[in-house]
């Protein structure tokens, strides 16, 4: 049994290490597209990359994605920044083409208000529910009636049959 557990643990650890190696391999292959020569501009480009959603893999930023389109968009962002765009202008360039959808952090506006305020509404609702629930609980306890004399006598008998 002990040996079996050890075997399983070993297998799981080996598997996890395998995955972590695979994850690193991804990170390496991802930086094929050439960075900008100016490190300051490159840092700005990469900061923008991290805000832009990959349209193919959807929950990754273009910084993390291996998709061909993500690479194209990374290069476009670099081109815009090298051409003198501010970060916001480079972001707007992509929003003009792909909509707010391309932003990992959606802007606060009428169509996204539910997205932004929804969690707080749910929290408020849950709070109200909890408050109502716990307020109701003590009244249940208060309803408990003390034992009658007859019951007390019977209880004493049961606990101490010799008396």
């Amino acid at each position: 049994m002990q040996a079996l557990v050890r075997l399983w643990t070993g297998a799981i650890v080996a598997l996890m290490m395998g995955f972590s190696v695979a994850a690193h391999a991804q990170v390496v292959t991802e930086i094929i597209d050439p960075p900008l020569e100016d490190p300051v501009l490159e840092a700005r480009a990469q900061a923008v990359h991290k805000l832009i959603r990959c349209l193919v893999c959807q929950n990754q930023s273009i910084h993390d994605s291996n998709a061909g389109l993500a690479r194209d968009l990374r290069i476009i962002v670099r081109d815009r920044i090298a051409a003198g765009d501010t970060n916001d202008q480079a972001i707007q360039y992509l929003v003009d083409r792909y909509g707010d959808w391309v932003l990992l952090k959606p802007p606060l506006k009428a169509s996204t208000i539910v997205l932004w305020l929804g969690p707080f509404l749910i929290l408020l609702l849950a709070g109200w529910f909890a408050w109502a629930y716990f307020r109701a609980a003590p009244s249940q306890v208060a309803k408990a009636v003390p034992l009658t004399e007859e019951e007390q006598r019977r209880l004493a008998e049961l606990l101490d049959p010799e008396a």
């Binding site: 349209l55 193919v56 959807q58 061909g68 389109l69 194209d72 968009l73 476009i76 929003v95 003009d96 083409r97 792909y98 909509g99 707010d100 959808w101 529910f129 109502a132 629930y133 109701a136």
Partner: protein
Amino acid sequence: MRPMAYMPPVMFAIVAVALALGLLIVKPKEIPSALIGQPVPEFDLPSVVGTPHGFSNADLIGNVSIVNVFASWCLPCRAEHPLWVEVGEGGLVPVYGLNYKDSQENASKWLADFGDPYTSIGADLNGRVGVDFGVYGVPETFVIDGQGFIQLKFIGPIDRFALENEILPMVQELQALMVAEGAE
């Protein structure tokens, strides 16, 4: 029963309905286009080797037209292609091709093998024009009105139902609009 006792099933129902809507109605793979009602981007692309003309945004002004984004490496494009051949032969609306990030050799062989329904084709070698059109996968299809404004975007391969119930009706509507405006 106390009213609170109804809460768990009610909450379950709310969550279940929300999830069902998300699963059945919302298509997470279809990103709404930001370019509907916008003018087509400016571009001037060379032709695919073996085809006579290139393709520029000027071609899209003056006529209702269809722009079909395709590539020889794209299998769904092959699936929808016979329908475009049919539309091309019908001659009711010009279909322009945007050959997206393709090898010239493969693209001309593909057209020779499966037919070339396109009025003209632009070779978008690095995909920049595709990005200007908001393309994020192939195939994609756009319907452009007579003034060169994008009026419809279809994501993924078309089938006969989509062609006859979505794309061609939009083309006819826009053509009727142009005739009406021309008559004024």
